[in-house]
Symmetry: C2
Subunit: 349 residues, 2 copies
């Protein structure tokens, strides 16, 4: 199996952005040393839920300070980008990392981001399709190309630099609906399963995608699927719970704040995570349900058991969301080290 | 005085993009060791004349592998960018470099880039003004802001990350007209003088800008102006000429190719620089004229003499265009070392 990071930077303490970036980057450096295979960064805008907005820039930084770890967008939200500029940005990551880019893409889901950028959310799918068309052409066209689309027009295009990986970096699509998965399979793209799906949804999506890959004429191997999971491991179950509960629920709830339009928005959390922790009264039913069905929180033994279940479902490339708001860096690092010592060896061929 | 690089990557040999990027980045690492103060990267698109399109990504890469050298855009071409995205990208450079960004901006001048991106060139100035307004607000607004402009609309904006330098990174404007210089001075921005201006134009612009800075209520010190110059130094004048002539004229002529619309375009150069060199019959009058009036090509003594002239004109921050198409990396490195040894010490306080 392969293990990586599904990395995000939140802002649980206002004003401490430099500390949180530094910690998230240090976690990647440690992960590379520990034998993790990849580090994927999420793209978010305009809220404390996620403050990495220039994802390809952060990956280019990491291209300079890492040697072997693969670098992924998870995901680049295509409706928010000029597709030519994104093709240039992503190719630059691939070039400066000597071919280590995994290009994860999605159409976006946060109401607030679309609203603030003044992009109608109902255009998301069409913008996604047009952008992918332009990006793949930018990377592969052997002659200058012209594009006339619904949202973009370009003339006589020759995009520099070109990616190093040929014909282009692997494309990973955050897709859950049958139609989106079918489109991904038809284009010979790969599937990125989100961290919010339950274990049984992960298994069902993986099964469905394998069928679609076969129908598209490809071999449905385990290299075609990556799945994100929140992961935290500690010596005891009680400690794993104590450490993750308030930070993870803060992350989930700030996510709900930005995902929904104002009339369907939950009560806002306090601006500072420390105030949230003071008021916090336990994860409740949501945390419990996720503990059994979604997250990898627990002792190395429990985490390994859940990973074995995923492996049996044909999911052999996992990327871990480890850095959720307010969880101390030292604890994140300890969890990574414990995972590398007590879990990873069981799954290495 | 301060010396830096005005760095560009061209593609004189098709297919060798990785080599040219590597060399340009290595030149920056050497420059930092030699005591150069800054490295500014140009932004170009869609032609061999310049293949750094993701300038802020390249600067973020350098943020990771350098320690002290300042990192500049020279320039970010504002009409080509979503201003929110550029504010995010540039702030990320500033954050990951710990406050080393110099934000150079311009409105663009290449006909081909505007045409291929389908952006009317006559909108360039208005797009520049609107973008600067949005970018500065993105970096400094203490409350969410809304923008309704001619080209962009944004709602309820809070941009992450924030730059480290307060209130924001220094802004350098590529301005030559009195109106553009006046606008820069009025906003308390700084002046970036291009490498194409003659020595007497540089002196006149510096003088004019000092006056405008005073009229805007600021102190017109030498820290408000940076000027770009093509520079190459070698032990003899003959060698400096032999080494620069074909590569520099290749650079100038490919620049003319992309700057002009098709009906005013010169005869295209061969695709491969080596073919250009074979056919090349001397720089001619253009090269001669630039040698006396524009470029810093020559022995350390001659280069120092010209720099002294610039210093006396109040220009005390020079950034050198050193890496022109087809000039071998070894020669560029030698020139930097010779400059650092024989010229730089004369101008260090």
């Amino acid at each position: 199996m392969k293990f990586g990071l599904f990395q995000s930077v939140q802002l649980p303490e206002p004003g401490a952005q430099a500390k949180y970036y530094r910690e998230a980057l240090d976690q990647v450096l440690l992960a590379e040393q520990l034998g993790f295979n990849s580090a994927w960064f999420t793209e978010h805008h305009f809220s404390r839920h996620g403050i990495v907005s220039a994802t390809t820039s952060v990956l280019t930084y990491l291209a300079g300070v890492t040697k072997t770890i693969r670098l992924g967008t998870a995901v680049a939200v295509l409706p928010f980008h000029n597709p030519i500029k994104l093709a240039e940005d992503a190719a630059t990551v691939d070039l400066l990392s000597n071919g280590r880019l995994d290009f994860g893409v999605g159409r976006g889901y946060q109401w607030s981001e679309f609203h603030k950028l003044n992009i109608p959310m109902e255009q998301a799918s069409r913008r996604f399709e047009e952008a992918m068309d332009v990006i793949i052409k930018s990377w592969t066209a052997s002659e200058p190309f012209t594009h006339r689309g619904e949202f973009w027009s370009f003339d006589d295009m020759t995009v520099h630099p070109r990616p190093v990986q040929q014909p282009h970096p692997p494309v990973w699509v955050a897709a859950a609906s049958p139609a989106s998965m079918e489109r991904a399979a038809r284009h010979h793209w790969n599937l990125l399963i989100g961290q919010g799906e339950t274990f049984s949804q992960v298994a069902a999506q993986a099964e469905k995608f394998r069928t679609l890959v076969g129908e598209a004429g490809d071999t449905p191997g385990p290299d075609r699927i990556v799945a994100a999971r929140a992961m935290y491991t500690a010596p005891t179950q009680a400690q794993a719970r104590r450490d993750t509960e308030a930070p993870f629920m803060w992350f989930k709830q700030t996510g709900q704040e930005v995902a929904a339009p104002p009339d369907r928005r939950p009560e806002l959390l306090p601006e500072d995570f420390r105030e949230h922790r003071r008021r916090f009264a336990g994860g409740g039913a949501d945390y419990e349900a996720m503990l059994g069905n979604v997250t990898l929180f627990g002792t190395p033994g429990l985490v390994a058991e859940r990973i074995e279940g995923l492996r049996q479902a044909g999911v052999e490339n996992l990327i871990f969301f480890i850095n959720f708001g307010g969880l101390e860096n030292r604890k994140v690092m300890n969890s990574l080290e414990l995972f590398a010592r007590d879990v990873m060896p069981q799954f290495r061929e």
